[in-house]
């Protein structure tokens, strides 16, 4: 009788092990984080199983923003689908346009003129900076620092102004399209961009000073949500999340597409703490590393942009694309290095103007998969820190 406790008798059916009955009585609680929660970046819903402030399990529930993007792709021509790609990851419209255009161009065998290439790289890298600025600001918000958010948005405003001058839109651009860009760069763009780069580069140091190397920020993010390189690869993480785990993998350099092989730039990766000014608390693959990789990537983007401006060629900005572009029978899958990771487009043609199948590999979706793995035995306050460092955009996850 020593091991029988009265409550296994009261609550559990006879024959249940007392240990199981004891499990029932722990202080567990199910909490819903989202879909209307300030720090889930849109409409992510996390079901948290908690013991006090300790998270035992976090299960992401997705699909609140599903808009049938892929199905729409099967019903419109590629040129008509380009605006839809803007709405996938709404912070990186240019990169999405670009990726889809590349896939279609590869399927159709289209050649893009020289100037078109440069315009594309300029836009993609500018958009990368803009997106990272949002990521940086929001991450600060997740950790509880309000000011970086507005700093990030302030600089992003200049980029959006550039975009607006170029294509008239500030968020959904529909600018890079099949065969190049839909419009040429406006007058004075190069000078404005050059001014912006000179203005922006010191700002990155300012951000680092304000947030990245803040003691509290480091304490909150370093050694939190550590993803080992093996895990990162196993879960198919890409982009800053993968590089944050110390894997030097960037499609722009490793499988060069477009004209990225013409530029000099480095691939920043997560570095263990104590090296070269990195805070000693930092572990490769933790939230801080992922965050910091983004900060370094902005620098590299600036570098690429400067080289672009030097090399920028004249001439046509768009190839001659037939009014009704017939997609040849065949299948093309192409990945580009998007802002959040590898953005892949599968386009299947069947000799019709409308593709038979469009499939999108969203990096946010793949990156989000690791949340249940990482958000285990962490504190409640770590969940925003981890999810924020993975930096998902729900538009792309739900598509």
């Amino acid at each position: 009788m020593s091991d029988t406790d009265i409550h296994s008798q009261r609550e559990a059916p006879p024959g249940t092990a007392p240990a199981a009955a004891r499990e029932l009585r722990t202080e567990e609680m199910l909490v819903n984080m989202g879909p209307q929660h300030p720090s889930t970046h849109g409409v992510l819903r996390l079901m948290l199983r908690t013991d006090g402030e300790l998270i035992l399990e976090a299960i992401p529930h997705i699909g609140y923003l599903h808009r049938c993007a892929e199905k729409i792709g099967e019903n419109v021509t590629p040129v008509q689908f380009v605006p839809m790609t803007d709405r996938l990851d709404y912070l990186t419209g240019m990169n999405n346009n670009h990726g889809f255009s590349l896939a279609v161009e590869k399927l159709c065998g289209l050649e893009v003129p020289e100037r078109g290439h440069y315009i594309r790289v300029i836009m993609c890298e500018l958009n990368r900076i803009a997106s990272h600025l949002v990521s940086f600001g929001c991450y600060g918000m997740d950790i509880g620092a309000f000011t970086p958010f507005l700093y990030g948005f302030r600089e992003r405003e200049y980029i959006l102004d550039l975009f607006e001058a170029t294509c008239g839109a500030r968020l959904t651009y529909n600018y890079l399209t099949i065969g190049g860009a839909s419009l040429d760069l406006p007058e004075g763009f190069v000078e404005r961009l050059a001014w912006f780069l000179d203005y922006f580069e010191p700002k990155i140091d300012e951000y680092n000073n304000l947030l990245s190397f803040n003691y509290i920020f480091i304490k909150r993010t370093a050694n939190v949500g550590v993803i080992s390189a093996a895990d990162a690869l196993a879960y198919g993480l890409t982009g800053p999340c993968l590089r944050g785990s110390g894997v030097k993998w960037d499609l722009r350099r490793c499988v060069p597409y477009e004209i990225y092989d013409r530029f000099e730039f480095d691939i920043p990766v997560g570095v263990p703490g104590g090296n070269a000014g990195i805070p000693p608390e930092v572990v490769v693959g933790d939230s801080w590393s992922r965050y910091y990789v983004r900060m370094l990537e902005m620098k590299q983007s600036v570098r690429i942009l400067r080289q672009c401006l030097k090399q920028l060629a004249g001439g046509e900005f768009r190839a001659k694309v037939p009014r009704t572009l017939k997609l040849p029978a065949g299948e093309v899958y192409l990945e580009v290095e998007g802002v959040r990771g590898q953005l892949g487009f599968l386009v299947v043609g069947e000799n019709k103007p409308i593709p038979r199948r469009v499939k999108i590999r969203g990096p946010s979706f793949c990156n989000l998969c690791i949340v249940p793995h990482v958000c285990r035995q962490v504190l409640l306050a770590d969940v925003p820190a981890i999810v924020g460092s993975i930096d998902v955009v729900m538009g792309e996850v739900d598509r």
Binding site: M1, D5, I6, H7, E11, R25
Partner: protein
């Protein structure tokens, strides 16, 4: 005419004491019983301070009250710890459920 003196304080303390006693004897929630105990202790403290003010004229009563307050805090800490354990073991805070001499 209403006046204030020792008796009034003592009657009030007696009332508090009786309320505390009633709470102690009837509430089934363990924390409720603790609240009853606090009431009773407060009644005693009030008595002590009133006597010290109106009868003795020294602050010995205040010192005793000070000790009571400290001990009450200590007692509450231990009691709450016991209740948390109790709740963990029995999944309830009803003291009537704890009448079995095994856990």
């Amino acid at each position: 005419m209403l006046t204030v003196g020792l008796t009034q304080y003592l009657v009030l303390a007696a009332f508090l004491f009786c309320c505390g006693l009633f709470v102690m004897t009837t509430k089934r929630n363990a924390v409720g019983i603790l609240i009853g105990v606090e009431l009773v202790l407060n009644a005693a403290c009030l008595n002590l301070v009133a006597f010290s003010r109106y009868r003795v004229g020294t602050i010995d009563g205040q010192i005793a009250t000070l000790f009571i307050i400290v001990l009450a805090a200590a007692e509450a800490a231990v009691a709450i710890a016991i209740f948390v354990n109790y709740y963990r073991t029995l999944a309830t805070i009803d003291v009537d459920k704890g009448d079995e001499l095994r856990g």
